[in-house]
């Protein structure tokens, strides 16, 4: 059986990759939001005590003997926007079909991802805390580990985009835009985590 329907004109691009990346970023945002909410729930439920001078109420959430290396954490916080900026530079270059700068921007984004992972490992090493030492320690490793997994996924995205770029794919604007969108999400997610886990503790 054949049914006659009006013929369709040439279809324009529907931004499939960009839309799916936005959906994945939304899912990952909910993952981090859920984990942060659980972190805050445990933090709020931690026992309280008065300070020795009786002027402050202290929450016994993070054990006293643990110090979070703030320099490394703040460096990570500053690195994420730079990575997103590099990803946006790749978009700018892609629109101008400037393959040299596009590839350079992508490789720098990847490199900044390595720097972020390096800073996180430095934090783990300097803190010297065991994962089984208590609720704070377990949850700290779980939430920061999940964030690092998302960063590694972003680096894989950068690597794929880079190899396509050096392979001469000049029509990859949508992929480069989707890549930038994912790094914007990573920046926002880490900013929230930095505030609640590293600043507020």
């Amino acid at each position: 059986m054949s049914l006659a329907l009006p013929a369709a004109p040439q279809q324009s691009s529907r931004r499939q990759l960009l839309v799916s990346t936005a959906l994945v970023a939304a899912a990952a945002a909910m993952l981090m939001a859920g984990m942060l909410a659980m972190w805050m729930k445990f933090r709020a439920g931690a026992p309280t005590r008065e300070s020795s001078d009786g002027l402050k109420i202290i929450k016994d959430w993070m054990p006293k003997n643990i110090t979070i290396p703030e320099v490394a954490a703040n460096t990570m916080f500053a690195t994420f926007p730079f990575a997103a900026m590099m990803a946006q530079w790749a978009v700018y270059s892609a629109k101008r079909r400037d393959s040299g700068h596009r590839s350079l921007a992508l490789v720098i984004t990847f490199g900044l991802g390595i720097a972020i992972i390096n800073a996180q490992i430095a934090i783990y090493l300097q803190m010297e805390m065991g994962i089984a030492d208590g609720a704070f320690q377990t949850m700290f490793y779980a939430i920061t580990g999940t964030m690092m997994f998302l960063v590694i996924a972003g680096m894989a995205f950068s690597a794929v985009a880079f190899f396509r770029s050096v392979g001469g794919r000049d029509d990859d604007q949508q992929l480069i835009s989707a890549h930038a969108l994912y790094w914007y999400f990573l920046t926002a997610a880490f900013t929230a985590m930095w505030f609640f886990v590293y600043v507020q503790k």
Binding site: A8, R14, Q16, S20, A27, G34
Partner: protein
């Protein structure tokens, strides 16, 4: 004008003479219809498992001391396994599979968006389901005695959720980006709309569940201080398998009814935008699910206390109920406007939707604190109404789309009989537990309780009802296999339907459409039919 060649891809049925070759084709295929059918097939196996387990639970509870069919900790483990199967092993994948198979055809796309992601979705879900099963067999799951197997359960559940999210991304992207030219969002067929709504809400809610599983896994593997031991983890993951999270998975069941009702009535759906709004409202339960707490109505205290209790209660329990009511009522309005015919698919879909309505209304009542129904078998009955109601709707959908999925039309009379039997089974498996809930029979507890009332009767009926549902699903699968074995026999448009999937051959060819057509209304196929025998 474009002529739609309805037999494209016939060569793709290519012969793979060897069994291994055929299996290889299925395993590696990125054809959305094959992926969808695999999802549906495995989910139906889970449907039988769920009904059999529910029947055993019912019989076990006939005596307060238990009949000793299931003993000790295995009761807790099996009840959690059943709950896992109902939500993430049956409801979500059954409708996701239907959506993966049908949505690209409905929106006029040649393929599903991100087909490899859809394929990953199936295997991730299936592998995760396998891990969950192995963990339960190995004395794992919540309450299990083997710590390693409890970890395996958590890992499996996270994989299952990952697979469902991946499939949902694929379906949502298809509806948002792969629609036929001219098909605006408000022209999307109701089932595809419900698939979009259900997928987006799955994408927003299941990652929160994965976050919970990650915390539980890390803590349980290393410390067991934050979330407790084998038996304590259940209180952290209960929300994933309860209401309102389940509401998200039944949105597509309502979409099936909204799709079939106007075809059965041979009329363009009246108040179509209201149906779409109703389907969207039904999914609003996602807001309540991710907050991971019961939003009960408590009218004690000051006016301010009453208000702060009433607003979230209405938002998280009232809105989904309103959505289900609106979408069912307006879909049925088509019957009044048109000239309905008796069809098995419609019978399944409408009876399933009414069972779902009974479940959502029950959930509303359960969350009124003064009713004292929290943690009673009333809540269990809500789940049974929703799960078995959704299964009936899905069977309606499979009957309706069988020509496109398998190239067959099922025997209408036999399927009608199954629909009647299915609704009897669903009511029997749920209603007695509603009543027992008022006598404080605890939810999902298999023994160690007693109350003044016919304990044996209520639980015997519930067990018998679940057994009937199991038989209905088995009989349906048998009918389907029999029809498939007899060979493709369906015409391209056996129901005189309205949407694009019926413009291609039965079964649908590999690449769906030879050429893309322009769509000018919500019922594009109807516009193209010369007779236009349907009321405007």
């Amino acid at each position: 004008m474009t002529t739609i060649d309805t037999h494209v891809g016939a060569e793709a049925k290519a012969s793979s003479s060897s069994f291994i070759g055929a299996v290889g084709q299925w395993v590696t295929s990125s054809d959305h219809k094959k992926i969808g059918r695999l999802f549906i097939g495995w989910s139906l196996i889970h449907a039988i498992e769920v009904a059999v387990l529910a029947a055993i639970f019912g019989f076990e509870r006939m005596s307060p001391q238990g009949l000793e069919i299931i003993t000790g900790d295995s009761a807790l483990q099996l009840s959690w396994y059943a709950r896992h199967l109902m939500g993430l092993g049956l409801l979500a994948p059954l409708f996701l599979g239907l959506a993966i198979a049908i949505v690209p055809l409905q929106v006029g796309a040649r393929a599903i968006a991100l087909p490899r992601l859809a394929q990953f979705s199936l295997w991730s879900w299936l592998f995760g389901s396998g891990l969950v099963l192995v963990s339960v067999i190995g004395n794992g799951g919540p309450g299990g005695g083997n710590g390693d197997m409890v970890d395996l359960f958590l890992m499996g559940a996270a994989l299952v959720a990952t697979g469902l999210i991946a499939g949902s991304v694929s379906v949502a992207t298809t509806v948002m980006t792969a629609r036929a030219p001219g098909m605006a969002m408000d022209m999307v067929p109701p089932f595809s709309w419900s698939a979009l709504v259900g997928s987006v809400t799955t994408i927003l809610s299941l990652p929160v569940a994965i976050g919970t599983f990650i915390y539980l896994y890390v803590d349980h593997t290393h410390a067991q201080v934050a979330f407790g031991s084998n038996k304590d983890i259940e209180k952290w993951m209960g929300w994933v398998y309860g209401q309102p999270q389940t509401f998200i998975f039944i949105v597509m069941a309502l979409g099936v009814l909204a799709e079939i009702a106007p075809v059965t009535a041979r009329v363009r759906q009246p108040l179509r935008p209201v149906v779409l709004i109703g389907l969207a409202l039904a999914s609003s339960g996602v807001l309540g699910a991710v907050t991971q707490s019961n939003h009960v109505l408590n009218l004690d205290g000051s006016n301010s206390d009453k208000l702060s209790s009433t607003l979230p209660f209405l938002l998280f329990n009232g809105l989904p109920l309103l959505g289900v009511l609106v979408s069912v009522a307006v879909a049925l309005l088509a019957l009044k406007e048109g000239t309905p015919r008796v069809s098995a698919s419609f019978a399944f879909a409408v009876l399933g939707a009414l069972m779902i309505l009974a479940g959502v209304a029950g959930s509303f009542v359960q969350h009124i604190e003064s009713a004292n129904l929290i943690n009673t078998s009333f809540g269990e009955a809500v789940t049974m109404y929703l799960v078995f109601g959704a299964v009936l709707s899905a069977l309606g959908g499979l009957t309706h789309w069988a020509p496109k999925l398998w190239g067959v039309v099922l025997d209408d009379k036999k399927v009608l009989g199954l629909a009647g039997l299915g609704v009897i089974g669903t009511v029997l498996s749920s209603l007695p537990l509603y009543i027992a809930g008022f006598s404080k029979q605890p939810a999902f507890a298999l023994f160690g309780f007693d109350y003044d009332g016919p304990v044996a009767l209520w639980n015997l009926l519930a067990g018998a009802g679940a057994a009937i549902v199991a038989l209905v699903v088995i009989a349906f699968v048998g009918l389907l296999l029999q029809a498939v074995k007899a060979g493709a026999s369906a015409s391209d448009d056996p129901w005189d339907a309205q949407t694009l999937e019926w413009s291609v051959s039965s079964p649908a060819p590999t690449n769906n459409f030879a050429a893309l057509a322009t769509v000018n209304s919500s019922e594009p196929l109807l516009d193209a039919k010369p007779s236009q025998g349907v009321s405007a």
